[in-house]
Amino acid sequence: MVILEATNIQKYYGDFCALAGVDIHIREGEFISIIGPNGAGKTTLINCLTGFLKPDTGQVRFKGKDIAGMGPEKLSKMGIARSFQLVHIFPDLSLIDTLKVAIISRQGKGGRFFASLSKDKVLHQQALEVAELFGLSDRLEETSKNCPQGTKKLLDVASAFALHPEIILLDEPTSGVSTSEKNKIMQVMVDASKKIGIKTILQVEHDMDIVFSYSDRIIVVQQGKILADGPPDKIEKNEDVVCNVVGQKECFQTFNRIMEMNREERA
C-alpha cells in the first residue's frame, strides 16, 4: 500500500530550482534511503514531504490526503515524524523530560494544567521504555545540552520515535557522529522501529555503507530530479549513479569491489 506519495513537486528558491518535478511513492513497510551529492535537493525534498516547506507545484499525499504545506504539528498528529540533520533538542530539559514531551503530545495530555508530572507513573514508565530502546537509560536526568553529540542525535531521533508515527523521515541520522558509532546508531534505530511498530522509514544519508546495508530501496536525487530509484543491488550496478554520487568514473569498479567485500564480510 502506498502510504506517502509526492507527484510532480517543484520547489524554487528565487531563480534556483531545488526540486524540478519529483515523483515519489513510498509503500508501507519500506526502508528507503535518499542519496545524492550536496545541493541535490534531498533536504528540500524531506522538508516538502514533512510540511516544513510548501512545494510551489505538485501534490504530497499521505494515505490519500493532501498534506502539502500542512505544518508540522498537524502532520505529527497524523502519524508523520522526522528528525533533523542538525540535532534538534530541548537544551535545558533532561533526557527523560524530552521523551515525556513527545509522549504527552502523542496522548494529548498537554492540556492538563494541574496534573502532577512526577506522579504520573505510566508516563514515566513509557518514557523509560523509549529511553531503554535507545540506550539512554544511564543519562535520564542529565540536561540535554550537556550530553555528547551521539547521545543528542539519538535523543532527537528517540523523541520522534516516541510519537509512534506511521512513517519517520530521518535527515542524516548519523551525520556528525564518528564512523564507529554510525552502525550502532542505525542498528538501534532499526531495532527500535521494529519494537515500536514503525513500519516505514525514509532517510537521507551520505554513508554508502549504511545506505546499502539497511535500505530496501534507494532513491538517487541529482539537481532536483530523481536519477534512479530501485533496490540496492540494482543501484550499485548503475554506473551513472555511482559516478555521480561517489564522484569519478574510475570509482565505479572500486566501489563495486568494496560492496562485494562488504557483502562477503557480512555473510
Binding site: 508540522p72 504539528e73 533538542i89 492538563r112 494544567f113
Partner: protein, 324 residues
C-alpha cells in the same frame, strides 16, 4: 521539592506569620506590596522563564486588577475583595486572550514591544477617559471587606497590617501552590519545551501558539490578582500603575531575584521594595542607583540574588550565563 527547600520555605512562612507582631509597622506595611508583587511576578515569570517570552507590558494586568478593585469599591460600593478578585481574573482572561492572540504570533523583542504597546494603549485610555477613571488623578480604592467580614470600623493601618496582611499572605501561598502545580504539570513541561526549541516542539505535535496563548492568559490572571492585592495597599489607582516603567520595574524585580528560580522573583520584589524605600529616602535619584544595580547584576550574577545565595550554599542546579 527537596527536603531542605521545604524546611526553608516553612521557616520563611513561619517568620511571615509572626512578622506583623514583631516588625515595625511601616516595614510590615511595605511587606504588603511585596505580597502583591510576588503574586503578579508569578504570572510574569510563567511567561518569561517557563515560556521564554518577555513581557514589557504586564503592568497592564496590574491595572486591570487595581482598577477593578477601585471601580467596585468606590463607584459601585461593592467592598467584597473576593468579587474584585473574581472580576479581575475574568477580565484579565478575556482581554489577555484577545491581546495574547496577537502578541503570541511574535517572539523575542517583537513580543516585548507589542506587549509594551498594549500597555501604553491602556495607559492612554485611562488618561483620556477622565469621566470614567478620573484621568491622571486616578481613583481611590476603598477599604475592602475580606471573606464577607467588614473591617470599616478599624483604623486603616491596623486593617492593612492585620487582617489584610494575613489575607494577602494566604492568597500568596495559594497562588504559589497553584503556579507550582502548573509549572510541574504536563502543560508546564510543554511550554518549557517550546521555550527551548519551538521548531522541535512543533514537530513533536505541540501547537506552539496555543500553548503560548494559554501561558499568556494564565500569566495575565495571576498578575491581575497581584494588582487587586496592591490596590488597597496604595489606596489609590492612577495611570502611573500601568505606565511602561512599572512593567520595567516588574522585569527588574524578576531579574534581581533570579528568573530561573521559581521563588527568585519574590525575593527580587522584596529586595526591590525595601531598597527603593531606603534609597528614595536618601536621594530622589533612586532610579540611577537601581540602574547601576541592574547593570551590575546582569554582568556579575545573571541568575540574580538567588543564584548568589544558592551558589554560596551550593544547592544550585544550573548556572545562568548572560549570553544565554
Amino acid at each position: 521539592m527537596k527536603k531542605p527547600r521545604i524546611i526553608l520555605l516553612c521557616v520563611i512562612l513561619a517568620f511571615l506569620l509572626v512578622w506583623p507582631f514583631i516588625g515595625p509597622k511601616y516595614m510590615v506595611y511595605l511587606t504588603l506590596s511585596i505580597f502583591g508583587y510576588s503574586v503578579a511576578l508569578l504570572g510574569l515569570n510563567l511567561l518569561f522563564n517557563y515560556t521564554g517570552l518577555l513581557s514589557f507590558g504586564h503592568a497592564l494586568f496590574i491595572g486591570f486588577g487595581g482598577y477593578t478593585a477601585a471601580f467596585l469599591t468606590s463607584k459601585y460600593h461593592i467592598p467584597h475583595m473576593e468579587i474584585s478578585l473574581l472580576i479581575a481574573i475574568i477580565l484579565a482572561a478575556i482581554i489577555g486572550a484577545l491581546i495574547g492572540m496577537i502578541c503570541v504570533r511574535y517572539i523575542k523583542i517583537y513580543f516585548a514591544m507589542l506587549t509594551l504597546a498594549f500597555g501604553m494603549l491602556f495607559h492612554s485610555f485611562l488618561i483620556k477617559t477622565y469621566y470614567l477613571t478620573g484621568g491622571d488623578e486616578g481613583m481611590p480604592v476603598l477599604q475592602p471587606s475580606l471573606l464577607g467580614m467588614d473591617f470599616s470600623d478599624m483604623d486603616p493601618m491596623a486593617f492593612l497590617n492585620g487582617p489584610f496582611y494575613f489575607y494577602s499572605l494566604g492568597l500568596l501561598v495559594l497562588a504559589c501552590i497553584v503556579m507550582w502545580r502548573i509549572v510541574h504539570s504536563p502543560f508546564g513541561l510543554c511550554i518549557q519545551s517550546i521555550r527551548d526549541n519551538p521548531d522541535k516542539a512543533e514537530y513533536l505535535g505541540i501547537g506552539i501558539r496555543k500553548y503560548r496563548l494559554f501561558a499568556f492568559v494564565i500569566s495575565g490572571c495571576f498578575t491581575a490578582v497581584g494588582g487587586v492585592l496592591l490596590a488597597p495597599v496604595t489606596g489609590h489607582m492612577d495611570p502611573g500603575m500601568v505606565f511602561w516603567t512599572h512593567s520595567g520595574d516588574m522585569v527588574f524585580m524578576t531579574l534581581l531575584g533570579g528568573f530561573t528560580n521559581f521563588f527568585g522573583p519574590m525575593l527580587g520584589s522584596a529586595v526591590f521594595v525595601f531598597l527603593r524605600d531606603e534609597v528614595s529616602s536618601v536621594t530622589q535619584y533612586w532610579r540611577l542607583i537601581f540602574g547601576a544595580l541592574l547593570a551590575a547584576m546582569v554582568i556579575l550574577a545573571p541568575g540574580g540574588i538567588i543564584e548568589v545565595i544558592s551558589r554560596s550554599f551550593g544547592f544550585l542546579k544550573k548556572k545562568v550565563k548572560a549570553g544565554d
